[in-house]
Subunit: 366 residues, 2 copies
């Protein structure tokens, strides 16, 4: 996008929505043509008075500020329909019209995973966010979050420490950093990923920006993990948006005495997937992310092998017949433990397949 | 049961199952008549050789031991069909034929709740088991568990401390205490509830008894709570049995770094209800337990009131019109917080009900 970026900025500053854009493009052909239309024709096309005024009498000072900002090679606009526009946003309600990007626009194309949570987490929550982020980043996911203090910052940092890319979605204009304490982190993200905003240059961190911004975090990503969150917190909004967007929602459980686990528990009750390890997440997402993820995965070797219960039952059935056999003999013959055998035999007994006899002996029933 | 208890003991020592008993009763009318039948008629009725022999040539020494034990007023037998036989067991697969009870048989009729878990819990797990037990006991539930060390013992103790009744199901004969460390606890339970076993007097704590015994714990109870449990542990068997018996299964979540939370997390993934407070359990079970529970409940006042989200939306809609209104004005008018408003407005926006305008203002769409 070079020639028409002024037109895109005008439409974005007018708060044009993608459905409105699509209708105007059908009528007028291009964004450059749209912004040349007289007010009457825009109004006839259904645009509100407020938006008509903003398109026909654009805020020149805001435009100049944005165009000056764009002089930096690191700074780009990504508009609806651009090659760099994330495919993932074409599937969500209320997709962004225009994104201001400071950093690598290519990061928006890679499979994303959102890690979010409380601004005031426990030290354990911070460690978990960092560790899950580092692990998933190492598997090829772009880690997305909201640049807030606490869990968000730890998530971004985990990806940076893994040498991966991370994207921070801002609730301010792209030229502002909020909170200021994350200034160094923001610079690191811009050079190893991207800062992204849909707000005009200079926009303040208005409180209502953040829930709106959250749909961009969840919408870009295949899944969203909530690490620690209080009840009724912003993280739950993002999780709810993720679910509404058809994305996977994951939550870390915690102690029932940790108030910051309550939001996660609420999500789990509502159907979010309870997660203990990054592998739990990979198992869900790898089929969705497909070949975009690195294939030199090592995570499958990290989990202890667990024999599938069905294999255990197959093994057990080999040693059962109508001749009674003691559980101790079954232990020796099958390689299963007494605990395993006891439970499996009871299940089989309840199903009528096995009969228990005196002295801890078992036989096939019937 | 006075006159026919010798006959019941013979049938129980022969490992007779309830369906077999029912068939024999149809043929022969009473347990006293059954034990008088010649071997040929029992065999003709379908009883196995082993069971025929055990009925026609009973173990007199075992019978004497049991009858002597019954001389104590505290000791009773509860047989299938007795008034004291728990109604709950008539609904489960493999119901017990005969229970040896040391204590109050009436406790078997009251609404039961099982609290189970690891024999080697964390201190926090012990506190949780005790606290949930005490609370639910105070609400009128009989607390059932397995007299093991750790979570089981804490669950029994919580009920005792609440002045409630508790039932311990043994994996040994009723005249033995296993583990020996819980001898004092067992005596307290016998005088404030009951010890219950379906094994013959003197039966050792065979390892295969415990999973079998577990079906009696879960089967007596409306619900089972697993407090802490490792993967593939006995507690998960009980939970699985509870589910198969159509009972409610509850589990306490915990830190992902606590190995004893993993069993609970596995259950939650499989559909067990994640529980944070005893009130969570009461909310599920009170409709099932009905009038049997005390009505002077105080728990409803313990939880902070949480306005239903639908009420919030009703309140918000009152203040929305086609005239744009700022989120700050909405905050003042509705009494909702900016965080709540932001998320609710975004949801309404995504549903096309509300339009967001510049400057954080909102209006009804269309």
């Amino acid at each position: 996008m070079q020639t028409d970026r002024r037109s895109w900025l005008i439409l974005a500053l007018a708060h044009l929505r993608v459905p409105e854009l699509q209708q105007l493009l059908e009528l007028f052909g291009s964004v450059d043509t749209i912004v040349e239309q007289p007010r009457s024709r825009l109004a006839a096309a259904g645009l509100s008075d407020e938006k008509c005024a903003a398109v026909t009498s654009p805020d020149d000072s805001a435009l100049e500020t944005a165009l000056t900002w764009l002089d930096d090679d690191q700074h780009e606009l990504v508009a609806w329909g651009d090659d760099a526009y994330p495919e993932m946003y074409t599937q969500i309600p209320a997709p962004p019209l225009l994104l201001y990007v400071n950093g690598d626009t290519a990061a928006l194309q890679l499979p994303g995973f959102a890690i979010i949570g409380s601004r005031n987490p426990t030290p354990g929550g911070v460690r978990n966010a960092h560790s899950f982020s580092k692990h998933l980043s190492g598997q090829g996911f772009i880690i997305a979050s909201g640049l807030a203090q606490g869990i968000d910052a730890a998530a971004h940092q985990g990806a940076l420490d893994a040498g991966g890319k991370t994207i921070a979605f801002l609730g301010t204009g792209i030229d502002r950093v909020y909170p200021a304490a994350n200034r160094d982190l923001a610079h690191a993200i811009a050079s190893q990923g991207a800062l992204v905003s849909e707000y005009p240059l200079g926009a303040a961190p208005e409180r209502w920006h953040f829930p709106e911004r959250n749909r961009l975090i969840s919408g870009l990503c295949l899944g969203t993990l909530v690490v620690e969150a209080a009840r009724r917190s912003g993280s739950l909004i993002t999780a709810r948006l993720a679910a509404e967007q058809g994305r996977e929602v994951f939550a870390l459980p915690g102690s029932i005495h940790n108030p910051l686990a309550k939001g996660c528990h609420e999500l789990i009750r509502q159907g979010a997937k309870l997660v203990e390890t990054a592998s739990d997440i990979l198992a869900e997402l790898r089929p969705l992310a497909g070949h975009m993820l690195s294939t030199t995965s090592s995570e499958s070797q990290e989990e202890s092998p667990v024999t599938a219960p069905d294999d255990d039952y197959t093994e057990l059935r080999k040693h059962l017949s109508h001749d009674p056999v003691s559980i101790d003999d079954l232990e020796m013959q099958s390689g299963l433990t007494i605990d395993q055998l006891s439970s499996m035999l009871l299940i089989l007994e309840l199903h009528g397949e096995v009969e228990s006899l005196s002295g801890g002996r078992y036989a096939l029933a019937g």
